[in-house]
């Protein structure tokens, strides 16, 4: 059946780089929560260093994400409108509350580290109970996941079709990117000991991610085409699949298997991390861009899978 003068049935997202960044950082915050939990209470100095790095970074990201969102909304007070209500049916609403709570937890954990480092009075350490660590991790999982749910629980055919896949690989991508960011920070800090573990975590997350994406692609059909074909598909393949998953995976695998000279190994790990991060960003960007294309395809929108 022909559509109406080939005009789009749906309206595409009005979302640009700021929303992409917001979603991307949300994923990383999720992953950082996990790493913060995994490195919690470990006596090794390297782990302690990693713990501190993830907690400070998580808090920093939690602090800059609202301004990024605001840059999309236009005016600061508009962010507050989100805090009028809690709406369980709206991933955007839950997400913002997730972000707020995550910021709280991340702030508490960061505060403990600050006290620990003597930057703030050590008494403040008791303001934040240690339960905030698993809480931050849980909220983090939510943060990484909701960025996927936010996209997939919409009317856009591509996104709706990926209602399982998109949240799943968003979590994976968030974890991989967080691992990559932690690797990067550790490399810069010279905290080499934690890197193999981080890289293994990253490899696991990437592996799960690529499998999920592959499975999504296998669904095929008109609805998923915008993500995997054409300009967007090429970018996704080059930057996310190859550059952001396969290459870093290989580099990480090489790093795990072969002992390289220190400086080269550092370069390898920096490269792998950077590529993963770029891949993670491009994944979100491709999703949004492909969502716009998908909205323009009335045929895919006429009949949607539930």
């Amino acid at each position: 059946m022909k559509s109406y003068y080939d005009r789009p049935l749906l309206k595409g997202p009005h979302w640009g780089a700021n929303v992409v960044t917001y979603l991307f950082l949300g994923g990383i915050m999720g992953g950082l929560g996990l790493i913060s939990l995994l490195s919690d209470d470990r006596p090794e100095p390297a782990m302690k260093k990693l713990r501190k790095a993830t907690r400070y970074t998580a808090f920093a990201l939690a602090a800059i994400n609202p301004p990024i969102l605001i840059s999309h909304l236009g005016r600061p007070e508009r962010f507050l409108n989100m805090l009028r209500i809690v709406k369980f049916k709206s991933p955007m609403s839950l997400g913002v509350w997730g972000l707020v709570l995550y910021s709280g937890a991340a702030g508490a954990n960061a505060l403990r580290e600050l006290a620990d480092d003597g930057i703030v009075p050590s008494a403040l350490r008791y303001v934040a109970p240690s339960a905030t660590v698993p809480i931050q991790a849980l909220l983090g999982a939510f943060m990484a996941g909701y960025t996927g749910v936010l996209i997939s629980a919409t009317a856009i055919p591509l996104w709706g079709t990926g209602k399982r896949h998109i949240p799943a690989f968003s979590v994976c991508s968030g974890a991989a990117s967080a691992s990559a960011l932690a690797t990067l920070l550790s490399t810069l800090q010279g905290n080499h000991e934690v890197i193999p573990r981080l890289e293994r975590l990253e490899m696991a997350a990437s592996a799960l991610e690529i499998v999920t994406i592959a499975d999504f692609r296998k669904r095929g059909g008109r609805a998923t085409a915008p993500l995997f074909e054409g300009r967007v598909g090429k970018r996704l393949r080059d930057y996310t699949i190859l550059g952001g998953i396969v290459v870093p995976f290989v580099l990480n695998a090489v790093g795990g298997a072969v002992r390289l000279p220190k400086s080269i190994d550092a370069l390898r790990s920096i490269a792998a991390s950077m590529l993963t991060l770029i891949g993670g960003y491009v994944l979100r960007e491709s999703l949004i861009e492909a969502g716009k294309l998908s909205a323009n395809d009335p045929q895919a929108a006429f009949r949607q899978p539930s």
Binding site: Y4, K11, H14, S90, A141, T154, A204, P298
Partner: protein, 284 residues
């Protein structure tokens, strides 16, 4: 008691009075001046600033009596869904269901996040880009070239800027007992406004009459449309398939996709947490 629209394509003469009456009442700007070549439709779609839109579908077919031309028109509008994707998605509570059962956007609460836009299965609601004065106003045809009064006028839309826009079912008019502007303007009663129950009755009778006369008529959205959306408070009588007017046949309410999404995310998170635990704490 919910009110809504029964829009009957067989009575529409494509005069677009509804489109214009809506813009006038709601002080909406024009969407630009572009000739499309698509029949008599140059506004093309519902938008943040076009809340009624008349579709023009031309068809030619041949049968034993020769060429048959048909030109079918219908005025599209927000469906005011029983379960509305836009309303559910809105994180600020700007979109509410009002006392008339209509889905209403409160422009002062909307923050322009645009989430409703991708959550409407009918492609109705959209963001209104900020429309300012001067050149912008001219571009959107808000001001005439000579009238300063018009240059200074700030429409409701201009004043808010960057908010979601769609049919309000003329909440302001309904509150004072007036019929919505579009229905009021419609010369042929193609747009009928009233209580839903009564409109359903009328629609069923109308379909019967038309079918008796050999007209292929069907209702769209009078009953549950599926996908979790339920019935539509603005429903239609069509003579062409819904696709011909870019109306979805099997739309889905986005929020029904959430549970599965969270579950998938949780599964992935749990898997990674387990692996991570093994990697980081496996030795402890």
């Amino acid at each position: 008691m919910a009110t809504g629209f029964f829009t009957d394509a067989t009575l529409c003469i494509g005069c677009k009075a509804c489109e214009v009456a809506c813009k006038q009442w709601n002080e909406l700007p024009s969407d630009g001046f572009e000739f499309t070549g698509n029949s008599y439709d140059n506004t093309s779609q519902l938008s943040g600033t076009t809340w009624r839109h008349v579709d023009f579908v031309e068809r030619e077919s041949f049968d034993e009596s020769g060429l048959k031309t048909s030109w079918s028109m219908v005025s599209d509008v927000c469906k005011h869904c029983t379960n509305a994707g836009c309303l559910e998605a809105c994180p600020t509570g700007a979109i509410v269901r009002n006392e008339f059962g209509s889905v209403f956007v409160q422009p002062d609460i909307c923050n322009g996040c645009g989430y409703c836009v991708v959550s409407c299965p009918f492609g109705v609601i959209d963001l209104i880009e900020a429309v300012g004065r001067g050149d912008d106003a001219k571009k959107y045809g808000l001001a005439t070239l000579h009238d300063d009064r018009l240059n200074d006028r700030k429409t409701a839309v201009q004043a808010t800027g960057g908010v979601a826009g769609k049919c309000s079912l003329c909440f302001d008019r309904q509150r004072v007992g007036m019929v919505p502007a579009c229905a009021k303007a419609c010369p042929t009663e193609s747009i009928q406004f009233g209580e839903i129950e009564e409109l359903h009755e009328r629609a069923k009778r109308r379909v019967e009459t038309l079918q008796e006369r050999g007209v292929e008529a069907r209702l769209y959205g009078a009953d549950d449309i599926g996908g979790g959306i339920g019935a539509l408070n603005a429903f239609f009588l069509l003579t062409e398939s819904p696709e011909a007017y870019n109306l979805p046949v099997e739309p889905v309410l986005p929020s029904t996709r959430q549970t599965m999404g969270y579950a998938a995310a949780a599964a992935a998170a749990l898997t990674l947490a387990t692996i991570g635990w093994a990697i980081f704490r496996g030795d402890s």
